[in-house]
Amino acid sequence: MIERTPVLNALTHVILVTGLLLLLFPVWIAFVAATHDMTAVNTAPVELWPGDQFLVNLEQAWAISDMGTKFTNTVIVAVGVVVGKIAVACITAFSLVFFNYRGRMLVFWLVFITLMLPLEVRIVPTYAVAANALSPFQAMLDATGLTALIATLSGVQVNLEWNLLNSYTGLILPLVATATGTFLYRQFFLTIPDELVEAAKMDGAGPIRFLIDVLIPLSRTNIAALATIMFVYAWNQYLWPLLIITDRANYGMVAVELGTLVPDQFTTGGGTPTWHLAMAGTLIVMVPPIVVVVLMQRWFVRGLINTDK
């Protein structure tokens, strides 16, 4: 729409800027808090302008919470989730859109239902599975009486066990098993004209060739969008790592680690809260997602609005 409406333009800009300020203000306060020493932070009224303790605080926060290890862990998990998610989503959607088989709708609805059951909702059963990833199979064997049968026949008591607690696998897998990406891909694949599929068939390309040579290159922007979303999602994970990681020193993730910096009676022993360190830690943890979003932004937006022209 091209219209000359100066008043409306001005008004929309005012609304936009107000919204921006409202959003940025807390971040600004966090930044300011991270630049003062403990006394200044804990004195009323709240400081609105930066002090000179920024680097000192950053260093201290980094050291206290052993951020080096935590960063490595979180990057491993986030990248694992991104790669796993893209692979699973792409292949599932490929199968759902381009193949005609019995039970296709059933698969579709199963995937769809997982959309309504995010990890937080099914966290207890998910924990049970993570504690022994083979327990569903064990349950099946028990229920069908196979365990008993094998025990009587061979004398071996079948006892499947695969513990995922305190491992990268345990952190990554449940985050990969969600439907968001599958839907993004499905919507994109549905926009691929039939004639393109048929042209590839006439050119002699089988399904795998078609996937690799045509679909994946065409869905570059979708991959970028999904990668960005999943990276930020995995980076910010709190509840799941909190639950399954007891070995914090080796497998801790950054969002959980921030908790150790936030003042409470355990960390500060009831003394003066170390808000300046907590805020410095927060700023450090915020950096990677921001970098990813900024770098991917151009692709990301194109992928979501789906106009690769």
Binding site: K201, D203, A205
Partner: protein
């Protein structure tokens, strides 16, 4: 060698039968055009030859080999689609060479083949562009080059020209015919544009509602339409139809209003008493002074065409159009006479819609292949 035999082929989607008992023999290196209105099953037939659509019943053989159960890539067909269907993320060169890449042809050899084919359709300068940066005509050429490079036995075209403007369409039509003459392939071309069909075809196949109405050279189909449907579909402006009854005694057909058109005696005898539709092509009628010809009519209105005029007449209340290069000074409502050349009179059974000739039987019925 790639003749195509289509034997008793039928197609249905679930319970909807959209094609029944289609038989067609296409000879090696022939250019066959399948012509018919929208929805008559032209594309479906073509896609069954290509292997993109399953064949419900009957069989299709290419070069003597039944291909019903072969994958598209095993059939040796290449196809040009209506919307080009180019790979948007590949350059023109990659688009053209993709089939060879899939077939495992080496890079250097592929490049040479792409350049040779691109040269032949005038695409050299565009090899590094993406399809999005090409005009419609250029995209069409890429689609063609992509088909040519595989040196197919059979070339399939599904309305490849319908997205082009009129001038480009004629140009590409010539180019397609030239390509067909140059390469050793059998071509099957689907269109609903009769000019395209008439000009391109060695043989025309006229389809209607999932069946073949008539197969023949464009000339045969124009001169001896096998049915009311074909007569009305081929030719522009469309054939006129007047109802009447054959009288052997008068060696003529008597029209509804009592006017009489002479018939060859043998035809009149064979079809004595039958109710018929008389088909008259507008361009084979001549306007003369009233009373001097066998058919009397009134002028309804006249359309100027530049090269001539299209006279819309009324015979009793039935419309009759006459196309003539002569510019008669006629006003609406004037009485005129119309002469009918005996060879320009087509008789069709009123009930059956099939052509009636000297034997009183159907002629040029679809070729039937013994099963």
């Amino acid at each position: 060698m790639a003749d195509i035999s289509i034997r008793n082929v039928a197609k249905s989607y679930g319970k909807d039968s959209i094609m029944q008992g289609v038989n067609l023999e296409i000879r090696n290196r022939e250019f066959v055009v399948i012509l018919g209105p929208s929805g008559c099953g032209k594309s479906t037939l073509l896609r069954m030859i290509a292997g993109l659509e399953a064949i419900t019943a009957g069989e299709i053989a290419i070069a003597g080999q039944v291909v019903n159960d072969l994958e598209p890539r095993q059939r040796g067909c290449a196809m040009v689609f209506q919307n080009y269907a180019l790979y948007p993320h590949m350059t023109v060169a990659e688009n053209i060479g993709y089939a060879l890449k899939v077939a495992g042809v080496g890079r250097a050899e592929r490049r040479a083949a792409v350049e040779r084919v691109a040269q032949s359709v005038g695409l050299n300068e565009f090899l590094d562009r993406r399809p999005g940066q090409l005009s419609g005509g250029q995209r069409q050429r890429v689609a063609m080059a992509r088909a040519i490079i595989r040196e197919p036995r059979v070339f399939l075209f599904d309305e490849p020209l319908s997205n082009l403007d009129a001038k480009l369409r004629v140009q590409m039509r010539h180019e397609i015919r030239r390509i067909h003459n140059r390469i050793e392939a059998t071509s099957v071309f689907v269109t609903h544009d009769q000019h395209e069909g008439m000009t391109l075809a060695d043989r025309l196949v006229v389809m209607n509602k999932g069946t073949i109405e008539q197969v023949g050279t464009p000339e045969e189909i124009y001169d001896h339409p096998a049915s009311v449907y074909v007569g009305g579909f081929i030719g522009s402006p469309a054939m006129n139809f007047l109802p009447g009854q054959v009288s052997a005694a008068r060696a003529a057909v008597v029209l509804g209003d009592g006017q009489v058109l002479d018939l060859p005696r043998d035809v009149a005898t064979a079809a004595d008493g039958q109710l018929v539709q008389v088909g008259l092509r507008p361009e084979q009628l001549t306007i003369v002074a009233p009373g001097t010809a066998e058919l009397q009519a009134r002028v309804d209105f006249v359309e100027e065409l530049g090269s001539g005029r299209l006279y819309h007449l009324l015979v009793e209340d039935l419309p009759l159009t006459v196309l003539s290069p002569d510019k008669h000074a006629l006003r609406d409502g004037d009485a005129v006479g119309v002469t009918v050349r005996p060879d320009a009179l087509h008789l069709f059974g009123a009930e059956s819609g099939r052509r009636i000739d000297a034997r009183g039987a159907r002629v040029a019925a679809p070729q039937v292949v013994p099963a």
